[in-house]
């Protein structure tokens, strides 16, 4: 099975009136960095939440490694949400112990190395850290796993350019070549160079799925420029 993720006729309707995903079908291959791109409200986060089992779809299926989201897939998916989910009363080292306990693929040494390189003290409590540092800690925890699938929801939104570079570097250097990174963002120009493929979605529908190379060759444009063309208001 070459596909890692198989989404079939996935529909999500909120409160019986707002359709976030509309019969969406797509597949995501292994060993790629895939950009999930679309304007605000296009359904990116909804799709990501369904893949992580945080949301139950109205209809359709989402399979990871052939399984519906559940304990089995969660053991192999490393997820960075768009918000901070860390318990503020915990120390960084307690979080490392927490991840070590629950995720068999978590590498504490890798996390500690990254923390040291960023000058973050393991004994610091989360509540004493700035918002940016909390996001970095969260990214470090997520990227210190040897997961099959990394799902990163807006990992570079709201951070300064230096931190942005660090995050991108962390993603490239820490993911296993057999793993896939699904990365949602609207800051395309910053991440364009690391993407293998892109998925454009709009109003819950698939607009395009193509390799970055194809877009550049066939459209003669960067992904960012093509995105602006497709989603022009």
């Amino acid at each position: 099975m070459s596909e890692l993720v198989n989404v079939s006729n996935l529909t999500m309707v909120y409160d019986k009136r707002k359709t976030a995903l509309n019969e969406l079908s797509l597949t995501i291959p292994r060993g790629k960095i895939v950009g999930l791109l679309g304007p605000n409200g296009s359904g990116k986060t909804t799709l990501i939440k369904i893949l992580n089992g945080l949301l139950c779809p109205t209809s359709g299926t989402a399979l990871i490694n052939g399984s519906k989201p559940g304990p089995e897939t969660k053991a192999r998916v490393s997820y960075l949400p768009e918000r901070t989910y860390l318990q503020t009363g915990m120390k960084v080292k307690e979080l490392i112990a927490y991840f070590t306990d629950f995720y068999a693929d978590f590498k504490p040494e890798r996390a500690k190395e990254m923390l040291t390189s960023l000058g973050i003290d393991e004994n610091d409590r989360i509540k004493t850290l700035s918002k940016g540092t909390r996001e970095k800690v969260q990214l470090i925890l997520v990227m210190s796993r040897d997961a099959d699938l990394f799902i990163l929801d807006e990992p570079i939104a709201g951070v300064d350019p230096a931190a942005r570079d660090y995050i991108i570097k962390t993603i490239i250097t820490n993911y296993n070549e057999n793993a896939t990174v699904l990365l949602s963002t609207h800051l395309i120009s910053d991440i364009e160079n690391i993407l293998d493929e892109v998925i454009f979605i709009k109003n819950g529908n698939l607009v395009l799925q193509a390799t970055v190379e194809d877009i550049r060759e066939q459209k003669g444009k960067s992904v960012d420029a093509y995105f602006r063309e497709v989603f022009a208001c």
């Binding site: 992580n52 089992g53 945080l54 559940g70 304990p71 969660k74 997820y79 901070t84 989910y85 629950f102």
Partner: protein, 271 residues
Amino acid sequence: MLKKLLKHEWAASWKIPTILIGVLLVISIFAGFTFAAPVWESEMGGLAALLVLVWMLYYFAIIGVSVGVVLYLAIRFYKSMYTDEGYLTHTLPVTSHQLLWSKIIPMAAWNVLATIGIFISVAIFGLMAIGFLQPDGMGIWETISFMTEEMVAELGIENIVTFGLSMLAIGIAGVCSGTMMLIGSVTIGQLVGKHKILGSIGAYFGINTVMQFVSTACMIPFMFNMAYEETDNVFSVMMPMYFVMSVVFVILSVVLYFISELIIRKKLNLD
């Protein structure tokens, strides 16, 4: 995995209830010492007022611990399951059953510990009162032994044991239903679109009303029986009634468990 979940849940939740119970115990000792003051023999109005204030403080401390622990556990459950922290909780490689048990066990344990804490506190207060006031000129242990003998003579040892067992049964059932009411109402509240907290509060009152209705319905036949047979032995009516109510509470708790599990597995919707 349940063991690991329990370890981390316990580590995250033990501090506040421990502090609350600890403070109550300190206040009960402090309140107990008021019996050492010569308030009964003196005319000092100020001292009497101060003692009343201390007793009131003690009374509110008991209420504070019983309500505070429950409130804290409900908020902690809500935060860890359905707010930002839920993004981590629900992406752990565990089943919804394991997740629920990892919340139920510490919550039930804290309900029991808070009850024990209040019981110890009242015992401290009572024993200090007996110790300082020495009614009938007896010491603490003499008074306790006298009261026990009186009780056994009045009620009979068999009735006391059965009464104790029925109270234990209803206590256990109460812990189960109290815990599941919190978990169930917070979880059912998640089904209410944008007003989830309001939904949880509504669900709590709804479940509570059902519990009250069912327990009253269980009591009625026993009450009729007591009136019809004109029995003097209240225990013979109360005890089977308590046992039946315990069974009903446990059944309702099981129903709430399965509803909560189903919602987490099939209807989870983290904003």
